[in-house]
């Protein structure tokens, strides 16, 4: 077994992607299988075997398998999780149902609200109470607790969640309650809020704790089975899982807090983009991952993705903020919008052309797939505009039907008096504008200027739309790495083992109890060190942050804390760090209003070795002729242009090309407009520089 051979497996809704890095021979192998519904581990085992065969090694030689999965997210979206009982402080069993009391749609009188994961008759209350400082006001009534547990047992719940008021500050009652449940010899997992999400705000904390309980029985079983079966197939190395925050963790930790896997897949994509940013020395990158149903954008500054502390799952109104279940989990801060190859175009009531967020998905899919889709999609428009080739979709595995697409697109545009080209160009620019608008907002909220950024584009539709989107955002450089379709699986391999912790302690900076803060950090560091050492880490680095705001404000900002012993001497630099961050975000320094901190965060990371990027590609490189032919390709403001079509696998390191150009690879197509200059860098990435002065939108 060599620590240099590792495999990443990303299970998505449609495909399971594989990347095998063979560090001994400096090779990277990739693979794709259809995801096996019901038991995803089947596709994993089959695909893993196929890939090691291809690489002429055995599973026993693999040092580690890192797994990314959408299982947690899907279980919540499909509401197919466990029957959960929730135990709360008396008077608060409805927190999870009452929520934030906001209407996410101002004009919809009959809007649908997301239903809590636990119905009211399974939400039981016991007497106990702490105040905001964690002082016990009422002791835990253990007899009531036993009664509640007995009642839940009668109801045959499969998992129990416990969420007491102010438990983020003092876990004494929750710990005691769990001990009692366990002593009653129940064979159900127990999630307590002070461990799952020890953060102030009872609705969000109990929502997270119940969601953890909801997916726990399933995920415990699935992860145990996966590990067992891989070992049975000969795996000696470890199995790790990707967290939503972009770190890898052990099966054991994932089983305790499965809710932290909810954004496992998208996190991996952002980690892959961060990896490329580091390789290429790009300080400011927007990663752009466009697939069949959604597009995801993530800011990567100094080779690290932005992080957020909350995520909204299972929105009942697609992509509408506020219509889902809030989860307090560390996630990579990315935006996901309903813009993908399958996004459908339609005419709205006012005679305007709209695209998405509804998607034709993979089935029936776009019209051109010929699987029964009838409404024109973004992919159909891209086909009409010459961006995609009817004969080389998925490397030629799928023949696209241009004639029927043209007919449907023309029919869509007819009432607007738009011809087929204008309609297709309209669909393409509207979906680009939707993505640009969402990106502008997201970048502005971070206090950044999009023009300073380069773009790393991947996903099946990413490289097709990267050029148009980059122009709208006034970006100068686009990078399309090799392997657009397996970037997430690659991301699994380049993400360092890492874990995030949080503890809430609300205090004004001037009133801080430093002993308490240091205890909080000591506790978190101890736990993190133990976990990462278990995962095989030699050394661990820590980063401390705090959620802070001016007294009186309702929104906190994420502030880095100085890496020194925390005490009165650090006060000045903490204050300065807050003011600097605030100024970057909001362009203002408010010196006169006191500052308070709410939550204290720790990120622990174990450094990892380099991964070399030598892809083993279809047909091996270099020998093929780069120019495949020419076709008519449409560019906004110019019209159809006679455009060379290149075979990506024929391009060599150092090649230079001028736009307009189409570069085809198996899983995607790169489109470059007339003002683009193309270079193939040493990692075989296609680097597109857009000339200055011509970045006007049409």
């Amino acid at each position: 077994m060599s620590s240099l051979i590792r495999m990443g497996v990303d299970v998505g809704g449609t495909f399971t992607d594989f990347v095998l890095v063979d560090g001994l021979r400096d090779r990277i192998y990739t693979g794709k299988r259809l995801t096996t519904e019901g038991d995803p581990s089947q596709a994993i085992l089959d695909g893993a075997q196929r890939l090691v065969d291809e690489a002429s090694i055995t599973i026993g030689q693999i040092a580690g398998v890192i797994h990314g999965t959408t299982l947690v997210a899907n279980t919540i979206i499909e509401r197919s999780g466990a029957k959960v009982g929730l135990i709360t402080t008396r008077g608060f069993r409805d927190s999870i149902a009452i929520g934030r009391e906001l209407r996410y749609d101002l004009y919809d009188l009959l809007m649908e609200q997301p239903q809590p994961l636990v119905p009211r008759h399974l939400r039981l209350e016991v007497d106990e109470r702490l105040d905001a400082l964690g002082t016990v006001l009422r002791p835990l009534d253990e007899a009531q607790l036993r009664d509640a547990v007995t009642q839940l047992t009668t109801e045959k719940v499969e998992a129990i969640a416990i969420c007491f008021l102010h438990a983020y500050r003092n876990d004494i009652h929750e710990k005691r309650a769990r001990a009692i449940v366990q002593a009653m010899a129940l064979d159900v997992p127990v999630s307590i809020s002070s461990e799952v999400a020890p953060e102030i705000r009872e609705f969000e904390r109990s929502s997270t704790t119940t969601a953890n309980a909801y997916v726990q029985p399933l995920m415990q079983g699935y992860l145990a089975r996966l590990e067992e079966r891989l070992k049975a197939q000969g795996l000696v190395g470890h199995v790790h899982v990707m967290l939503s925050g972009g770190g890898a963790t052990t099966i054991r930790a994932a089983q305790a807090f499965p809710i932290r896997l909810i954004e496992s897949g998208p996190a991996a994509g952002a980690m892959a983009a961060s990896f490329y940013a580091r390789l290429m020395g790009l300080d400011h990158v927007i990663s752009f991952d466009m697939g069949g149903t959604t597009a995801k954008m993530c800011l990567i500054d100094d080779c690290r993705p932005q992080h957020a502390h909350e995520f909204e799952a299972a929105r009942v109104r697609r992509f509408r903020k506020g219509s889902g279940l809030p989860l307090k989990v560390p996630v990579i801060d990315l935006i996901e919008i309903g813009a993908g190859g399958g996004s459908m175009a339609r005419i709205d009531g006012m005679g305007l052309l709209k695209v998405g967020p509804e998607s034709a998905g993979a089935d029936p899919g776009p019209i051109c797939y010929q699987r029964g889709g009838t409404q024109p999609t973004v992919t159909d428009a891209d086909l009409v505009l010459g961006y995609l080739s009817p004969d080389y979709f998925l490397g030629g595995e799928m023949q696209l039907d241009l004639a029927s697409v043209r007919e449907s697109v023309a029919a869509l545009g007819a009432p607007l008096k738009l011809d087929v080209t204008a309609t297709a160009a309209g669909i393409h620019s509207i979906v680009n504008e939707n993505m640009a608008a969402a990106t502008r907002m997201y970048v502005a909220e971070k206090g950044r200027d999009p023009r300073q950024y380069s773009m790393i584009a991947f996903g099946g539709a990413g490289p097709v739309h990267a050029y148009g989107l980059a122009k709208l955002l006034k970006l100068r450089r686009i990078v399309c790495p090799l392997g657009a379709g397996v970037m997430s699986a690659l991301g699994l391999l380049v993400a360092p083992p890492a874990i995030d912790y949080v503890r809430s302690y609300v205090t004004r900076l001037n009133d801080i109890d430093w002993r308490h803060v240091n205890q909080l950090f000591d506790g978190m560091e101890r736990e993190a060190r133990r976990l990462l050492t278990d995962a095989g880490a030699q050394e661990v680095t820590f980063e401390r942050r705090a959620d802070m705001r001016h007294v009186g404000q309702g929104f906190e900002i994420d502030v880095p804390l100085p890496n020194v012993a925390l005490g009165p001497d650090a006060l000045g630099s903490i204050r300065e760090s807050f003011l600097t961050t605030y100024n970057r975000l909001f362009d203002r320094r408010v010196e006169s209003v006191p500052i308070e901190a709410l939550s204290w965060r720790l990120t622990a990371t174990a450094p990892m070795g380099e991964v070399a990027l030598n892809f083993v590609r279809p047909g091996e490189s270099g020998s093929r002729a780069p120019l495949k032919g020419r076709r008519q390709v449409h560019f906004a403001g110019i019209g159809f242009v006679d455009c060379p079509v290149y075979d990506r696998y024929g391009l060599r390191v150092g090649d230079h090309l001028d736009g307009p150009a189409v570069i085809e690879e198996r899983e995607s197509t790169i489109i470059v407009g007339p003002d683009g200059r193309i270079t193939i860098d040493r990692f075989l990435s296609v680097v597109i520089d857009i000339s200055a002065g011509t970045v006007k939108q049409d």
Partner: protein
């Protein structure tokens, strides 16, 4: 003619981009503001108006009450400061209730946007300040002057420089000057974002000004609303509802809705005269809370702009509760204004019953404002945000604990307790509070608060619905009444300022929404579900006997 300038593709792109400019400005305002009301009640707005003062785009999550008030305020500003006198970086404000939003805490701010030397637009923002002097937020003042400082239209910035004596004057009159300054700055930040983004937008789109685009967008919005109104059968529809008013002065809202082709007129003749307490709703506020529910019911999807309401007119006799004369007290005008949606839907239900919902228990909002000194000696002022239930509608039960027509959120109890000397012993759904119906009204909630500070705490109550419940629609039953009491069973005045001693407990029971349709038609399974979930009791289930 207008459609020749913009094809459907560019129009879609330009329109959504204008809205996202206001959204981006709104995000900056929200995140930097200090006012809990801005944050929790969404009580702010950003609007973009063309050079003629017609609204062009508004932030999508803004508060409905500000629909249309900004352009009306701008008209007053332009009277005081003619268009040719505005310079880049200027900024004018007012909080005059009659010119702006109906009560003093809201500051309306307008700045011009210049592009290549020409005035192309005005940006407008409104935000509820943390303090505006006078009595703390209350319903029982007898005239406007008790309620706080009135700022007439005045320049706050001249070419980007603050007018020092204006700022000093305002800050010298408020309880928390740092936070008030912070919030005025939050508004200025939003204006800067708006101006910057609009300039980029015009450059990108190769446009010199917004005139043609504005005309086209307003035309679209107007046509959409007209088409929606045209589906309502012509006729005159009347509805009257009663509110608690103040003590013996019960109030009545009389609404006459006239639909004539694509035009809709709302007339409030027959409404009670203005009263000597802060329940009066100025015409701007009356207008805003009349057109908003109409848009929700008839044309919810079209983005709104000046065109949206060209086909809707609103009238109320001068001197009545809905169009009071200066200087009537107006501090709790929401207690009246929030009821207009129910009055309008009561009338509309006679014509288009499938488009409206029953009356909401969450209208008007019920507020308890606590203030005093906490254990560390810090001054605190906390509003307990919570809502009753919405009315049920065709095909759907009412939403529990959700505000309508306003959109007030509720903060967390843990946060509430961490910054005030108060303990909340329960915050739970209130069974049987939703009106029975084929579709049940949304439930209200019950909250119990104990004072744990060593010092007495001031309490201001702004509430209604202790006498008049939210009525059902099409045979549905009314929701439960509001109940506010102390632990000893005594009841405070629902619109008063009192003092709570340490150890005192206040119990607030929020009202439920009205039911929709005959309760006997409710499915057995739905009734059984409600029983099992404890949303109705065995007694409450009897309302559904068939």
């Amino acid at each position: 003619m207008e459609d020749m300038a913009f094809d459907p593709v560019s129009l879609e792109i330009l329109w959504s981009r204008l809205i996202s400019i206001t959204d981006e400005s709104a995000a900056a305002l929200l995140r930097t503001s200090f006012s809990t009301i801005v944050r929790e009640s969404n009580d702010f707005a950003v609007s973009l108006m063309d050079a003629n003062g017609n609204s062009l785009a508004e932030n999508s999550a803004g508060i409905p009450s500000f629909v249309g008030t900004l352009p009306r305020t701008l008209v007053h500003f332009l009277k005081r400061f003619p268009k040719e006198d505005w310079r880049p970086g200027d900024c004018v404000i007012t909080n005059d209730p009659w010119m702006a939003t109906g009560h003093l805490p809201d500051v309306t701010m307008v700045a011009p946007v210049f592009h290549r030397g020409t005035l192309v637009a005005f940006s407008g923002t409104i935000a509820h300040l943390p303090d505006i002097s006078g009595a703390l937020w209350s319903a029982d003042c007898r005239e406007l002057f008790e309620e706080g400082l009135r700022i007439p239209p005045i320049r706050m910035l001249v070419e980007d420089r603050p007018v020092e004596n204006v700022m000093e004057f305002i800050l010298g009159n408020v309880r928390v000057p740092d936070q008030v300054l912070g919030d005025l700055n939050a508004q200025i930040t939003a204006h800067r974002v708006c101006a910057r983004r609009l300039a980029e937008f015009l450059d990108d789109a190769n446009m010199v000004d917004l005139a043609a685009l504005s005309e086209t967008l307003q035309g679209h919005a107007e046509r959409a609303m007209r088409a929606a109104i045209a589906t309502v059968p012509d006729g005159v529809y009347r509805h009257e509802l009663k509110a608690d008013g103040f003590d013996a002065d019960e109030t009545r809202i009389h609404c006459t809705l006239t639909v004539d082709g694509s035009n809709l007129h709302v007339d409030y003749a027959g409404t009670s005269p203005q009263i000597g307490r802060g329940l009066n709703s100025v015409m701007n506020y009356t207008y805003a809370y009349s057109v908003y529910p109409i848009k929700c019911a008839l044309d919810p999807l079209t983005p709104r702009n000046a065109g949206s309401y060209r086909s809707v007119s609103v009238d109320a006799p001068l001197g009545c509760l809905l169009n009071p004369r200066y200087p009537a007290p107006v501090g709790a005008r929401q207690l009246t204004g929030h009821l207009l949606a129910g009055a309008i839907y009561g009338a509309l239900a006679q014509a288009v019953p499938d488009k409206v919902i029953a009356e909401c228990g969450s209208a008007p909002t019920a507020r308890a404002v606590f203030s005093g000194v906490d254990r560390q000696g810090h001054r605190f002022s906390q509003i307990l945000f919570a809502s009753g239930g919405m009315g049920a509608g065709p095909g759907q039960d009412g939403l529990s604990c959700t505000a309508f027509p306003t959109n007030t959120g509720a903060g967390s109890i843990e946060s509430f307790e961490s910054i005030s000397p108060l303990i909340v012993w329960c915050k739970q759904l209130r069974p049987d509070s939703g009106g029975a119906g084929e579709f049940r009204g949304g439930l209200g909630q019950e909250i119990e608060v104990e004072v744990v500070s060593p010092e007495p705490v001031h309490l201001s109550l702004l509430s209604d619905r202790q006498k008049h419940a939210a009525q059902g629609s099409l045979g549905g039953s009314p929701g439960a009444l509001v109940e506010i009491l102390f632990a000893d069973g005594t009841r405070p005045h629902p619109k008063s300022r009192t003092t709570l001693k340490p150890g005192d407990r206040l119990i607030m029971r929020y009202s439920g929404g009205g039911g929709y349709g005959d309760p006997a038609k409710r499915g057995k399974a739905a009734v059984a579900d409600d029983l099992r979930e404890g949303l109705i009791s065995d007694v409450g289930a009897r309302n559904y006997a068939q």
